[in-house]
């Protein structure tokens, strides 16, 4: 079985993240860029299948700027077999729609049985790219899965809903997206890190994928304005001397909150 994992590089959520006020786009230079944690969990789904099914091949696919290489080397060191980096100037600031058509083309070129993505990225929080990829490829999509089971010809998973949970399934090929309830990712070991340096990482352009860089006839979303909100400041802080509960209640009363 061949599995593609869609990996997005995002700013580390442990740090202050910034938007460029002029373009409204992510300031990618502001902090450390990493493979999104949710995509490491997506990779774990593929790798744990590979652990128990020899002959499974895992390819990671990412669309993004030059710096994506670092995230790709990391996931290669965790155990993916190869990587595809879609890099093209025409993709700077690509919205979800453009991102998805291009990822779909890259998935098609890779020729896989299963596509695993994260449910939503931590920077955009869009949660739409996997469904768009599925639509482009004409495949079923099992979204927001908390747990996944892959068999030879099908995939099954459990997803939370507003009122409970449901079990969903689809024959392969299919696209799935997983939530942070799915298993935490393994750490790369020394051997993995050494091997990652020699694993194939191919960089492809829109031309290599046979795609029109103008995306003629496609609508797109664009940012009109961006403004930073004032930062919150710390208010009153008291140390409990036996009456903090009462004093807190007085504060809530004064603020008309009780």
């Amino acid at each position: 079985m061949k599995i593609a994992v869609l990996v997005k590089q995002v700013p580390d959520t442990d740090e202050e993240r910034r938007l460029d006020p002029a373009s409204g786009l992510l300031d990618r230079l502001a902090g450390e860029n990493v493979a999104d944690e949710i995509n490491e969990r997506a990779l774990e789904v593929a790798l744990s299948h590979k652990d128990s099914h020899k002959g499974t091949e895992v390819v990671v696919i990412s669309l993004g700027p030059e710096s994506v290489t670092k995230a790709l080397r990391k996931v290669l060191s965790m155990g993916a077999d190869s990587a595809v980096h879609v890099l093209d100037e025409a993709l700077a600031g690509a919205d979800a729609g453009r991102t998805a058509v291009v990822l779909a083309a890259a998935v098609k070129q890779a020729g896989v049985d299963l596509v695993v993505a994260g449910n939503e990225s931590t920077d955009g929080r869009g949660g739409v790219v996997p469904a768009m990829v599925a639509e482009q490829l004409g495949l079923p999509h099992l979204s927001f899965l908390d747990a996944v089971e892959i068999s030879a010809g099908s995939v099954t998973g459990e997803r939370g809903t507003d009122s409970g949970s449901m079990v969903v399934s689809a024959p392969l090929p299919a696209v799935i997206s997983v939530t942070e309830r799915s298993a935490e990712a393994r750490f790369p070991n020394f051997r993995g890190i050494m091997m990652a340096k020699r694993k194939p990482l191919s960089v492809v352009s829109l031309a290599d994928l046979g795609m029109d860089p103008d995306f003629a006839g496609m609508g797109r979303s664009v940012v009109v304005t961006t403004s930073a909100r004032p930062l919150r400041t710390a208010g009153k802080k008291i140390v409990d001397e036996g009456n903090a509960g009462t004093r807190l209640a007085e504060f809530l009363v004064a603020e008309q909150l009780v």
């Binding site: 938007l19 979204s143 908390d146 399934s169 961006t226 009462t246 209640a249």
Partner: protein, 323 residues
């Protein structure tokens, strides 16, 4: 006038709580058309209620695949309504199902997609959406080039209600290609649970973190929530430790709340937690560690033990209530 489609989601035979806000958003942008996928014959009971919430037209798409295929029937319903009614925009809840449907519809029609709007308005010919980014640190406005616009609206973000209307009704039959849809094998309902307010959109929230120490002690969070009439939230660490269900998680990868009052008990205030609550009007924190980052955003911070401070607080609130 310009037609605006609103996808009405159903859950367990009932319209989802996102319905009134979505129809209000649609009414702001043009003439609201409620689109709903139902089992054959299952829609007639919905028409009056949709009208009372502002729908001027109800588009009932009947399919025997409803409840059997994931997303497919809802997607075909909207797709058929789009072809028939040529709307200028489509609004959908930013829920799991809503996003799946909106995403597939945008990919299929090559329309522009706006995700997670907290507000929408029309500006001449175009539709402008507001987003709250990185936990409210930025307000971003976006629009769509090339019509129509497909917009997912954050649940609970739009509180206004549209004026009631007497809707026209169209009934059609739709069918999804089973080869493109996942199959729903089974559905299990969560325990009816409590009559506490829903976390999303709650006016008051009391959240507990790892500092609560155990599932048993997490009851303290619920007790304070009940004393305040608040919803219960949690940090990811508390969810991971199994103190409380994941549906209570507040933060970067959980629910974003913007209540009048947010109380953080035994929560350090990691940046990913703050991303989900820092737009609250008033923030109160109780933590034994005077250096916990939650105090940087708290209007009233107590350096103390939740197990002594909270019971005293509950007593004080109760004493006041019974006065």
């Amino acid at each position: 006038m310009n037609k605006i489609l609103a996808l009405i989601e159903m859950s367990g035979g009932e319209m989802c709580s996102t319905t009134p806000g979505l129809l209000a958003a649609a009414a702001r942008l043009g003439t609201p058309v409620a689109v709903v996928a139902v089992a054959p014959g299952g829609g007639t009971g919905l028409v009056a209620e949709l009208g009372s919430l502002g729908a001027e037209h109800v588009y009932l798409a009947e399919s025997d695949q409803v409840g059997k295929l994931l997303v497919g029937p809802q997607l075909e319903a909207l797709s058929a309504a789009m072809t028939a009614l040529q709307p200028v925009a489509v609004v959908v809840a930013n829920s799991a199902e809503g996003r799946d449907v909106a995403a597939r519809l945008a990919a299929r029609t090559r329309a522009g997609l706006i995700v997670d709007a907290v507000d929408v308005r029309s500006e001449g010919e175009r539709i402008v959406a507001t987003h709250s980014v990185f936990g409210g640190a930025y307000a971003v406005e976006s629009t769509v080039e090339g019509a129509p616009a497909i917009v997912t609206v954050r649940q609970g973000a739009i509180e206004e209600r549209a004026n009631a209307a007497t809707p026209a009704v169209t009934t059609v039959t739709v069918s999804a290609d089973p080869a493109h849809s996942a199959v729903i094998e089974s559905v299990s309902a969560r325990d009816a649970g409590s009559d506490r307010p829903e976390l999303r959109g709650a006016a008051r929230v009391v959240s507990g973190g790892r500092g609560l120490g155990s599932r048993e002690s997490f009851v303290l969070v619920e007790q304070l929530a009940d004393a305040l009439g608040a919803a219960v939230g949690a940090s990811r660490a508390a969810v991971d430790a199994g103190y409380v269900a994941q549906t209570s998680q507040v933060g970067q990868t959980g629910i974003t709340v913007s209540p009048q009052l947010y109380v953080a008990l035994g929560i350090s205030g990691a940046i990913q937690h703050r991303a989900g609550m820092q737009t609250a009007k008033t923030i109160v924190a109780i933590n034994t560690d005077a250096d916990a980052p939650i105090f940087d955003v708290a209007d009233f911070g107590v350096v103390g033990d939740v197990f002594t401070v909270v019971p005293q607080l509950i007593e004080a609130i109760k004493a006041r209530a019974s006065r």
